[in-house]
Symmetry: C2
Subunit: 431 residues, 2 copies
């Protein structure tokens, strides 16, 4: 097959007409497919159903330390839940603060508290002229939305195969005291699926921020979400920091939203002793504490890291064919044409697709008009603005494989059509 | 029996010596009793155990509108949960925003958001020179702690049998734009147990605040927590506001912490359409939404208001004897001596006790030294400072009746001892 950019106007025109016919046929099918969000599939949710039987009217409701989960108390979380997450995140149990069911909410809350009260006694951010966050791109739209809501200025940081450009990160963080944070999804990053290299993790630990209240928002959302036999290794940021005495830099987050139930999981935050003291002083006033029956249910079902990993292997069995369906469609339909690049994640929930420059929005439109919903084009960049209009986040987890194959047919057609429109435009304007 | 204030020095001395002996005997028993917090008793928690069977591995996990509670979605709450709380609070279901398990957290959050982002576009409170809240006293210590954390200046407002002094409230709210809120527990108030009169509720609805972002924090924590056959009626604040077009004044809160489980209940907020739009615009960014399996469990177990009321009647059976134990001890031991006054709540979780001026702290010490923990003396006032040092919140719900009787023996002795110490001091300084 010829690369599109090697085709002349006539060849492109012929190809375009043929693709248009196929596209019209797709439209005629009246599809309604959704590849927009990182939602677990129905079959994945079924995996955790036995967890619901871990609490019942005939079971005792005591924690390991003998307290009754049904009453008030245990503000930081149950001992068994803290231990489970400590195990998963490779930190000490007393570094774990258990939240409700949304790690996004814990991140929002950390920023909201920094805005209104500061961090460890710093000036509340809401009183500062300017607060800035570094945003590795492409990244997670919901991180960016939090910054936007609070009027926090976002600075995009390019990512390569190792992670964010750490020279640029260092320059901002160490010179500019208005830079208060950076968003990171260090393992199977949203949306690229790539994992930060050892060099990058060490560079994070070695940061010497100008702002004492600068924090690395380390969203370890996909810490055990492997799709292969050879999971990506990720250095433990806290361990690297411990060597340098920089543990206070880190707010780490995780949740079971994609382990147990997205609608009723458990979120946690991990932090240094000094950060924990700061957070706990606030939490004492902030809440009576997170849902403890849900914690008990999780702790009883998941015991320890090994049990979680066995459970995740079952998720993998369901997810790997979906990623395979997307990637094989792209390999077959798109790769030979030289009109796009995309990632091959070994875990996580997304594939990041880079179309030809200026084509992403058009691809989104074409997909939509044929009944396929993608993540809003641009969403992977701060303010929803992808300057080169080329990145698209593909979320293969929710639809069944058959639907995914249909959706990918539409997607690949749309990518090709947009590419030809773009190339024809270039030829025209060149002529 | 003679009133203490009618006794001469000799009589008081004789009485004091006799009481000291009894007190020493109590101390010798090595008691360890807790009347400090509004915690449900073990037997109350048992009432809701069948709720845990409402979700299980063999049950379907769909809401009434057919969506899967295990996955993402339904940010404002399940339709059935919103309907249940709408029923309880007598508002429309779309006025209900479901939260996690802590209504205290929803209140904190409302203030935290006001501090960082303002309300409906107002200036964020964190950027203002001064923010003030009105605090009817005696009141709930955890409300006051929130204000203290955010540096919100608290203005105590005296309460009488009808509720807060509304002339004073009106004067502050309508003249001072730094007054941004007032804390209210309108039914079976914490700690007095008294319910606001119709006149007071109507006066709230008729407020014309100087600050557009003034809100009434209407903590309806005990809305169905009756202890008698003749529950206190409370006017529906939203209905009164609707007549005057002032619905935007109200943030209403409630929870099932003392209906189902304190450690795993459901909290809600009710608000006007304009407030809901403001809150929802933030919530979209703030969280993936509250735990939905817990919502489903509650909605299935509690169906509707009637079922909740039937359930609350069972709570009452367990609680009424505890209130009776406390009140009969007070009636027998304290009332005849003319050294204190106390409330006789028809619902809620507390009895408010007013000792002689300047005696509360001493009573707290005496109780502590004989193994009985009371709510920190002073806690019912802003900054923990009861200017006349006389209010004590009694929390009879947690200990079994037998323990409560023992605790009340110590409490009554302590009240008498403190009173005699005070009266003797007065006699001495008069002589």
């Amino acid at each position: 097959m010829k690369l599109y950019k090697e085709m002349n106007e006539l060849e492109l025109g012929r190809e375009y007409a043929a693709l248009r016919k196929e596209y019209a046929a797709c439209q005629a099918r009246g599809l309604k497919l959704d590849m927009s969000r990182g939602k677990p599939g129905y079959d994945q949710l079924e995996l955790s159903m036995p967890m619901l039987d871990m609490v019942a009217s005939d079971r005792d409701m005591k924690t390991l330390d003998g307290s009754d989960v049904r009453n008030y108390g245990q503000l930081e979380g149950l001992p068994e839940t803290r231990r489970l997450f400590a195990d998963l995140l490779e930190v000490a149990p007393d570094q774990i603060l258990v939240g409700g069911n949304s790690s996004l909410n814990m991140m929002f809350d950390a920023i909201n508290l920094a805005e209104s009260l500061g961090i460890m006694g710093s000036t509340p951010w809401a009183r500062l002229e300017k607060v800035r966050f570094l945003c590795p791109v492409p990244g997670y739209d919901r991180h960016f939305s939090i910054c936007e809501l609070f009027g926090i200025e976002m600075i995009p940081i390019p990512m390569d195969a190792e992670g964010p450009d750490m020279d640029l990160v260092r320059r901002y963080v160490e010179k500019d005291s208005s830079v208060k944070g950076i968003w990171c999804v260090p393992k199977y990053s949203n949306p690229t699926g790539l994992t930060y290299s050892d060099r990058v993790v060490r560079a994070f630990a070695a940061l010497k921020p100008a702002a004492p209240d600068f924090r690395i928002f380390w969203d370890n959302a996909y810490c055990v979400h492997d799709l292969t036999d050879t999971p990506d290794p990720l250095l433990n940021l806290f361990e690297e920091c411990a060597r340098l005495g920089s543990e206070d830099l880190v707010y780490m987050f995780a949740s079971t939203s994609k382990i147990s139930f997205s609608g009723a999981g458990i979120a946690v935050m991990a932090a240094s002793p000094a950060n924990m003291a700061d957070l706990k002083a606030k939490r004492t006033i902030q809440t009576i504490g997170p849902n403890k029956i849900n914690q008990l249910m999780h702790a009883r079902f998941f015991h320890d890291k090994e049990a979680v990993l066995r459970h995740m292997a079952r998720h993998r069995e369901l997810l790997a064919p979906k990623f395979e369906a997307v990637l094989s469609a792209l390999d077959r339909e798109i790769a030979p044409l030289g009109i796009a690049s995309y990632t091959r994640p070994r875990g996580g929930y997304f594939i990041s697709f880079d179309a030809m420059e200026g084509c992403a929005r058009r691809i989104g439109e074409l997909c939509r008009d044929a009944g396929v919903v993608l993540t809003s084009v641009g969403a992977t960049f701060p303010y929803g603005h992808d300057p080169s209009d080329q990145n698209i986040r593909l979320a293969p987890t929710f639809p069944p494989v058959k639907e995914l194959e249909e959706a990918m047919e539409v997607f690949c057609l749309s990518v090709k059509l947009a590419a030809i429109e773009k190339l024809s435009g270039q030829l025209e304007s060149a002529s």
